[in-house]
């Protein structure tokens, strides 16, 4: 991008413009990508749910496809910031901003999403895992922009859920837990994805928690509890105005257990 690493992409602006006003960012150039056509869409094709990077949060909220087949994303779409902010805030921006308190990064980790970036040297696809490098830092190069977010298409015996705890609407999460579950034909856990919000320098993929349930029935209360405990172990929250670190870890456990149970109910109903 012209302006090198001193340029910033302006999408919905709902994170970037406040940062500019607080003088936390002072790029010499802003590149407004809102005029680029063809970046606002939600559709299933080629084995993926595909979302254009400029898709607004309000469009996710209004999407029947998201509500029926990807409830984990719908859960977030009605809780991100507030309805007015969601009219402008974008899917791509929420992810590429790299804020651990944003909701979509944890969900994308749970869903094992892929991100498509376009740059001067062409296009490349990255996995969500490894994309979130550090607070406000992602694997995107300064000459690239995120164009598409891809999520493996929902299978019939899968379900997801996102729960977050916040002090009030519009505040950042105290903690959040994204759970995506697939069952095999015997009703055992085939795959589990667990992503955590606002409890570390980046969104966290709780890998040990993901492995703990493999091959087990979802009626096993002990196993479900273990997933919650392992998720809490994966969290590394800091003590701040939103609560002490110990409390946040406990909330990760509680939210993960609740989210897992809701994901299971939805998986039994065929994703709903």
């Amino acid at each position: 991008m012209k302006g090198g690493d001193d340029a910033k992409v302006l999408a919905g602006g709902q994170s970037l413009i406040p940062l500019l006003k607080l003088r936390l960012a002072s790029p010499t150039r802003l590149v407004d990508i809102n005029g680029i056509p063809g970046l606002e869409y939600i559709r299933e094709s080629g084995g993926y749910l595909r979302m254009g990077a400029l898709t607004r949060m309000a469009d996710l909220e209004a999407s029947d496809l998201i509500m029926k087949r990807y409830p984990i994303i719908h859960d977030a779409s009605v809780e991100i910031a507030d309805p007015t902010v969601r009219n402008l805030g974008t899917v791509g921006g929420n992810i590429s901003h790299g804020d651990p308190a944003n909701d979509l990064p944890a969900i994308m980790l749970a869903l094992e999403a892929e991100f498509v970036a376009e740059g001067g040297s062409g296009s490349r696809t990255m996995k969500a895992e490894g994309f979130f490098v550090d607070t406000f830092t992602t694997a995107l190069n300064h000459n690239e922009i995120l164009t598409e977010i891809r999520v493996p298409m929902a299978s019939p015996r899968s379900g997801g859920s996102y729960l977050k705890l916040e002090k009030r609407i519009g505040d950042f999460a105290i903690a959040g837990s994204a759970v995506q579950l697939s069952l095999n034909s015997r009703g055992e856990c085939e795959r589990l994805g667990v992503g955590l919000t606002a409890v570390g320098p980046t969104a966290i993929k709780a890998k040990k928690a993901e492995e703990a349930l493999k091959g087990k029935k979802l009626t096993d209360e002990g196993a479900i509890r273990r997933v919650g405990e392992l998720a809490a172990e994966a969290a590394s929250p800091t003590t701040d105005l939103r609560g002490p670190a110990d409390y946040k870890k406990e909330m990760v456990k509680v939210l993960t257990i609740r989210s897992l149970k809701r994901a299971y109910q939805r998986a039994q109903r065929g994703g709903m």
Partner: protein, 171 residues
Amino acid sequence: MEGGKTKMHIAVTLNGKKYDADVEPRLLLVHFIRENLGLTGTHIGCDTSNCGACTVLVDGKAVKSCTVLAVQTNGKEVLTVEGLAKGGKLHPIQEGFWEKHGLQCGFCTPGMMMAAYALLQKNPSPSEEEIRRGISGNLCRCTGYVKIVESIQYAADKMMMAERKMEVPAK
């Protein structure tokens, strides 16, 4: 555009009237509305996109005008609180806030009314819960939410009645 040195030309339709202006790229929409156009009905509250006092409609969608650059509204239609009343007659939303005492200090009122306007465009007969969710991006520092919700219910009823009357053939 570098450092705000060069001005950009924008053409914006605001409350039905077309405006052409040369503005710095960094100028916020709320400052453009208040300072360049002199329309001070749109308030600046928190300036950090939390409070919603600056809510206006851009192409029919409610946005916080303190978190939008004026240049981003080039070619678009903006509606502010000054655009609600028509021909000297209050809009049903304004009438609702009047009748139901939907304001105390009045600071949040323009933003509340614009958020309510956007809500009722999408959902003409919202439940109390839907109204509360619909205005959840707007803060009232007097905490007068009960009356604000009643005001919006009043407006919804009034607008529905007006709609129905139009459907009944004139006798």
